[in-house]
Amino acid sequence: MNRTLATRLSRLAQYGLLGALFVFLATPMLVIVVFSFDANRFPTIPWGGFSLEWHRAILADPMIRDAFLNSVLVGLGTAVLATALGFAAAYLDFRYRFRLKLPFILLVAVPPAVPATILGMAMLAFLSRIGLFGRLETVMACHVAIATSFAMAIIRLRLNDLSRDLEPAAWNLGASPLSALIHVVLPFCRPALIASFFLSAAVSFDEFLIAWFVGGVHETLPVRILNLLQGQVNPKINAIGAVVLVISVALVLLAQRFTGVRAGRRPNPDPGE
């Protein structure tokens, strides 16, 4: 009797902690969205009533529109390039053995682990010396260097499930390595390619430190927000924030929809090994 009571209390505590944690993670997102519709200038309670004023204000702000357009361009470019490069790296890792393979894979995998402050400063110092500072293409190129890591990881996981005999079978039937790659491997990887497209776009859409360092006058949306945040309290921030949040959450959810990441159903689910 005593023991079942203890078990029940322990279960209750476990679920309680988990619930509290999810509230902790959800609160900031909800706050942004809810207060973007608040009529008050300063976001606090009591709520000032429903208003679309700030959403309208950001539509009318040319700097925000430009920043949004920049973000979309950079995000799309990053998504395409990072997915292509990530696929190439993942396929090389899957199919070939070569010298210096580990350094090659690390060169692709490591960038997200380097603090963005340091990486942004290093990119600015180096790229400005070779004349690439202050261009939108440079922001995109730097985002690709980071996002390729995630793309490679997603596609490599998918390749794990590709039978090693499938390609040799195609070769025996007369397909060249390239043709087997295009007709066998690429279709098999399609869900992972779509997932890495959306995830790379999300990574780019949220990145602000590198974009801030190397972008110069070309602000992406997160950089615009960072600049607004460092100024006065501005009720537009919540409205932009809500838009950015909805877009990036949508991108991540779309990516997840195509990876089918599930705990406990994959043969080797620990990402760290």
């Binding site: 476990q14 993670l25 997160p222």
Partner: protein, 309 residues
């Protein structure tokens, strides 16, 4: 079948792909080179070269606000022996260490509940819910915490309504940890949930059949097999907290400064690139040491077992 007909069939297939052409792709070494070189070049120019250049710049000089190639150790001695840097280093390590411990203490039981108590459907939902914040708008979420915790913010408005005076929630160590945990907890939990889901259930059942209570199962079956994942969680949390710029900026107003804040300030205030680079390189060395320590901790038990055999 003649050689000619084979060629025709091959070229028919190849009509779709003008580049790089059948003869090129036929050679065994060309395809990997065509796939690998763009990746290699891209990562070399936009990732490796900037970091190498960062190390080189630490030996350069600034004369009349211009960066000039040189080989001086002056930047290193000035930064490493300055009390500002030393204080910021100690502060950053203390903050990141605290975040790591808190993240492990909170994430472990929560991940345990997700991995062992929830059914498959709920577990997938929980995992999806954890992946979203990893990739979405960390800066905005910190700004939201600022709204919640500020003197005129939501919590203080609620507290004021029941007669509790404005609490100084923002700007201290607690708010900084709130920010850093917002960053680290989802990732820490994901690593642990995946690792726990990968544990062989028959081991746990065997221990239970042998009469082990849950606490003993956790201590003798679950914890040992999670050793690498726990090391990975700890190093990841430390790495993220150590390098973060946004939480120190918005949650404590940069006071006291962390190393990331110091870097940005050094870059902004005049063209002291070499000194900012020294701070950056020192941080990378520090992080490499922490990663090495994590690896060593993860391997610890396996290595000892090997030695015993």
């Amino acid at each position: 079948m003649t050689a000619a007909s084979v060629t025709t069939r091959a070229s028919a297939r190849w009509r779709w792909f003008r580049m790089p052409g059948p003869r090129l792709a036929g050679s065994p070494k060309v395809l990997p080179a065509v796939l690998g070189l763009p990746v290699l070049l891209w990562q070399a120019v936009f990732f490796a070269a900037p970091l190498v250049f960062l190390v080189i710049v630490t030996f350069w000089q600034v004369k009349a606000f211009r960066l000039e190639p040189a080989f001086v150790l002056d930047n290193w001695t000035r930064i490493l022996f300055s009390t500002t840097f030393q204080r910021a280093l100690v502060h950053t390590i203390a903050v990141a260490g605290t975040t790591t411990v808190l993240a492990l203490l909170i994430a472990f039981p929560a991940a345990y509940t997700i991995a062992f108590r929830l059914n498959a459907r709920a577990r997938d939902l929980a995992v999806a819910f954890l992946i979203v914040p990893v990739f979405s708008s960390y800066m905005l979420r910190i700004y939201a915490w600022q709204i919640v915790l500020s003197p005129e913010g939501i919590i203080n408005a609620l507290a004021g309504a029941v007669g509790i005076g404005p609490l100084p929630l923002l700007g201290g160590a607690v708010s900084l940890q709130v920010g850093l945990l917002t960053l680290t907890l989802p990732i820490a939990m994901l690593i642990l949930v995946f690792a726990m889901a990968g544990i062989d259930r028959t081991l746990i059942e065997a221990a239970e059949n042998l009469g082990c209570r849950r606490a003993r199962v956790i201590a003798h079956v679950i914890l040992p097999s999670l050793r690498p994942a726990i090391a990975l969680t700890a190093t990841t949390s430390f790495l993220l907290a150590f390098g973060d710029y946004i939480s120190p900026l918005f949650m404590t107003g940069s006071k006291p400064p962390t190393l990331s804040i110091l870097i940005v300030d050094t870059v902004k205030s005049g063209s002291q690139w070499p000194r900012a680079s020294v701070i950056g390189v020192s941080m990378l060395v520090m992080l490499a040491l922490v990663l090495g320590l994590g690896q060593w901790l993860a391997r610890g038990r396996a290595a000892r077992k090997e030695a015993a055999r």
